[in-house]
């Protein structure tokens, strides 16, 4: 009985990672959730381009390493323009739109459905012009 129990335990330990891998969403398949860690330092994103498959839900975890307020706005040109023209100092937590307080971390999710290029940016006064703009490339 002890041998059977031991063999079962060994089998469970060996199989568990495989089961977890099978159950985990595959970012490349476009069917799951992918976490993207972003840092903001000296008012610039640390990544200029991110590639995902169409259909992927991206969980953006944004670390603000600056002592000033930043935001992350993900979306097509009309969304970007609305925020560039807007005066909203802070954003309610909407998918793809967050405010990140100084020296803190915040997160949001966004579903990339259509192949193409989607901008993520900060539209606080002067920040976009200063270079706070990057792209998510959505591959078919």
């Amino acid at each position: 009985v002890k041998r059977i129990a031991l063999a079962g335990l060994v089998l469970a330990i060996a199989v568990t990672p495989i089961v977890l891998m099978v159950m985990a969403p595959d970012p490349a398949s476009g069917a799951g959730v992918e976490t993207v860690d972003l840092s903001v330092h000296y008012s610039h994103f640390d990544r200029s381009e991110i590639h995902v498959k169409a259909g992927t839900t991206v969980r953006f975890v944004v670390h603000n390493d600056d002592p000033i307020l930043h935001e992350l706005i993900v979306g097509p040109p009309d969304v970007q323009q609305r925020h560039e023209d807007g005066t909203e100092p802070r954003h309610l937590p909407r998918p793809g739109e967050i405010t990140i307080d100084p020296l803190t971390t915040n997160e949001t999710t966004y579903v990339f459905t259509t192949p193409g290029s989607i901008e993520f940016a900060c539209h606080l006064p002067g920040h976009h012009a200063y270079g706070m703009s990057s792209q998510v490339i959505v591959d078919p």
Binding site: Y42, S43, D66, P67, P102, L124, P125, G126, Y130
Partner: protein, 351 residues
């Protein structure tokens, strides 16, 4: 579009007078009130060095009707005193380089619109609330936000640039309500005198580009008054226009202003002109005294003192650039020689 920034500065008496074009994000001193209804029109600074003590005099002018506005100045060391300065020192030094020109009201010169930090000194001068802070860029930036200032996107990098050499900053906030109660009008200036014991003074220049688009011109006149002819290290775009013993009439006028008991009768006058795009003004002015030579570290151009405090005999920027180039070439030559030597040795050992 070219916005203009103007700076006047003398050292050991160093005067930095600035006038930048109106721009909500373009503050000479550094910070602007969040509501933007009051904007700094001009920040004028005088840093004076004599016998181991620097007197740093800055004048703030304001316009608008909002509640408050402020500015920040990086300091080379902890000040011992902040008080009201004389009313005409800055203007008199400006006149010294352009005596015949009278500027009419409404002159077209550009106006300057365009852990926790430790509070180590506070003072009130007229409608200005002065706070001297000690802390890194993050701490000072956070303090500024917590106290109602708006920071431009380049502020984190600029604050770190200064904090790496001296974690001391002076924040000045205009209280418009108090200004009104004291009868101050828009355009009135409030000069302050900051007393800083220091052997190796420097004048902040990069702070002039804070919040400005990269192609915006920064034009500045930097005046220095020192005990002796100073050695200086600046950067590209800064040139020495005048270097001579200050005239007795100038010294008499300056010494007759308020709180100038410390000023000797004879000083050396230097005038440096800064004229470059904001994106190129990434340095400060290091000033040599009889106690210490200027350094590239103090000028914000090196993170370690490669030049070991060696005195550069002339401050001339072009010479400065040539020195940098020669040192770079010598370094490359030395490195190449080492590599070739090691390579030959390895071949010899292999044989």
């Amino acid at each position: 579009m070219h916005k203009r920034t103007r700076l006047l500065a003398p050292i050991a008496i160093t005067i930095v007078a600035i006038a930048a074009t109106a721009s909500p994000a373009g503050a000479c001193g550094g910070l602007i009130g969040e509501n933007g209804s009051i904007q700094l029109e001009r920040t004028t600074t005088l840093a004076a060095w004599h016998d181991g003590v620097e007197h740093y005099i800055t004048s703030f002018s304001f316009s608008g009707t909002g509640e408050s506005v402020g500015s920040i100045i990086p300091l080379p060391a902890v000040p011992t005193k902040v008080e009201a300065a004389g009313q005409w020192t800055l203007q008199r030094l400006q006149r010294e380089i352009a005596p015949p020109i009278e500027f009419a009201a409404g002159d077209a010169r550009a106006a300057s619109q365009a852990g926790a930090a430790e509070v180590i000194l506070t003072a009130q001068v007229d409608a200005l609330d002065i706070t001297v802070l000690k802390g890194g860029g993050d701490e000072v930036g956070k303090w500024a936000l917590d106290n109602g200032f708006f920071l431009t996107p380049d502020a984190p990098e600029v604050l770190d640039f200064y904090a790496a050499r001296s974690p001391i900053f002076l924040a000045a906030k205009f209280d418009a309500a108090r200004a009104a109660a004291q009868g101050l009008n828009g355009g009135d200036g409030t000069p302050i005198d900051i007393t800083i014991p220091i052997d190796k003074p420097w004048v902040p220049l990069r702070i002039l580009s804070l919040g400005l688009p990269g192609d915006t011109a920064v034009n500045a006149d930097v005046f220095l008054l020192t005990d002796d002819k100073p050695d200086l290290i600046g950067g590209p775009g800064l040139r020495l226009d005048r270097s001579e013993a200050a005239s007795s009439s100038l010294m008499t006028d300056l010494r007759s202003d308020r709180n100038t008991d410390w000023m000797p009768a004879h000083m050396w006058l230097s005038h440096l002109a800064l004229d470059d795009a904001a994106q190129n003004v990434r340095y400060d002015l290091s000033v040599g005294t009889d106690r210490s030579g200027p350094t590239y570290v103090a000028a914000g151009r090196a993170t370690n003192d490669l030049f070991g405090g060696a005195i550069v005999s002339v401050v001339h920027t072009e010479l400065d650039e040539r020195v940098t180039m020669v040192v770079g070439l010598l370094g490359a030559l030395l490195l190449g020689t080492l590599i070739i030597g090691l390579s030959r040795r390895r071949h010899r050992n292999a044989a």
